[in-house]
């Protein structure tokens, strides 16, 4: 599976994120020579909460508060769970959501959708998208997923991805946006993941990225 990096737009302190950033980021991508627009993309994330046996009491402290489920745009028949506190990932078929519903021990508390435009640029696929809080569709962040098609080894693709990252940051800087794109750094070995890229790597990236997106969104509100 091709390697991916995931970046999010970090607004400057005291500024508010607007969808103008998305417009400008797309304009940057469209300015790359030979780039072509390649449709739209959408991934979604569910934040779960435990349902205690005695619902008059607060959630017990020994139950996880960071269980998230992810449906990825390129794997419509699968669903992945990430629990950062346990460095744990579960990859399953999308029917696992039915199992969780039937168990009734965990329910979706809120949802975030990642959706936007996809571009093809040589050996790269670029996906620029908004993070929208569901149900009120409020904008929480802007992300960019960069996929390098020829390589599935993260070590071997490190240099070319770093070069792309620099190209991207310089191009975006010229737009004088009030912030910058930050790459999501993860120690994948803590999750038991190796050098060969998998959907589990993507799930962990999104799990880490969304924490940073929400934190900067809350700080700047």
């Amino acid at each position: 599976m091709p390697v991916k990096w995931l970046m999010h737009f970090q607004p400057n302190q005291g500024t508010t994120l607007t969808s103008q950033v998305m417009t400008e980021a797309c304009a940057v991508a469209e300015s790359f020579p030979g780039v072509s627009r390649d449709g739209r993309w959408r991934s979604s994330m569910t934040f779960y909460r435990a349902v205690p046996r005695d619902q008059s009491l607060p959630q017990p402290s020994d139950l996880p508060r960071d269980l998230i489920g992810i449906s990825l745009h390129d794997l419509p028949n699968e669903f992945l769970f990430v629990m950062r506190s346990q460095r744990l990932i579960l990859r399953a078929q999308s029917s696992v959501q039915t199992v969780i519903d039937k168990l009734q021990s965990y329910k979706g508390r809120f949802f975030i959708n990642f959706e936007g435009v996809q571009y093809k640029w040589g050996d790269f696929k670029l996906r620029i998208g908004k993070c929208l809080y569901n149900p009120n569709e409020s904008l929480r962040g802007i992300v960019m997923e960069v996929e390098y098609l020829p390589l599935s080894s993260m070590d071997k693709s490190q240099r070319v991805m770093e070069e792309f990252y620099e190209i991207w940051r310089e191009a975006v800087a010229s737009k004088l946006l009030a912030g910058q794109f930050i790459n999501t750094e993860v120690n994948f070995s803590e999750y038991g993941l190796g050098d060969s890229y998998t959907p589990q790597h993507t799930a962990v990236l999104y799990g880490m990225c969304v924490v940073q997106v929400i934190a900067s969104s809350n700080k700047n509100q």
């Binding site: 629990m83 744990l88 579960l90 039937k102 021990s105």
Partner: protein, 217 residues
Amino acid sequence: MECVVQGIIETQHVEALEILLVGLCGAPKQRVRVHELCLKSGPNLVSSEVRLLCDLAQPTPSWTIRHVGGAMRGAGADQLSVLVRPIAESKASSTALRFFYAIGYKLDHEVLKTGFAFQFQNRGANLTVSVTSTNRMPRLHATDDAVPITPGIHMVEITAPAASENYTEVASAIASFCEYLSPLLHLSKPSNSTGIVPTAAAAAASLMSSGGGIKTL
């Protein structure tokens, strides 16, 4: 949703049953070696139960998460000779057990089911007939040291996936197939076990001496 019937047969007659099934099913025999873990939610969580099945018959163990719902009730369901129940299943990565422990589930019990199965079609329904011995483990997860819970007895189960639009037809397909097995064993709803049948020994002897010779369905 699935339709299911169960029955028991003495282990000494399993070989005869296999001969019968080879002739009836026209499908290759599949080895069954499934480690089944039944997990229940801890005292803090809404009460629920989930099963994890680890298929050890494959070169690489594969995991399935399974939720079994309550039996369908009502006049229509009561008249059927098979049990109909909702099922939710998902294949999952090997982190499944660790995942459920992390979200507050505890191991209630575990068994190892060993034996064989046939998958084939009858009257448009996809049937799975499994003949297994249920084994307990003397130590946690010690599948290599498992011993039969009821030595001398094997369980036979027939299941078929179904939907709300066709469960009566699927139930009928199972019921008609059960007729072929009736000399050897009686299959019924899991709650209505009738034990071993008196004709089993004679039927088994007949099968062993003739080596089968029954036309495939």
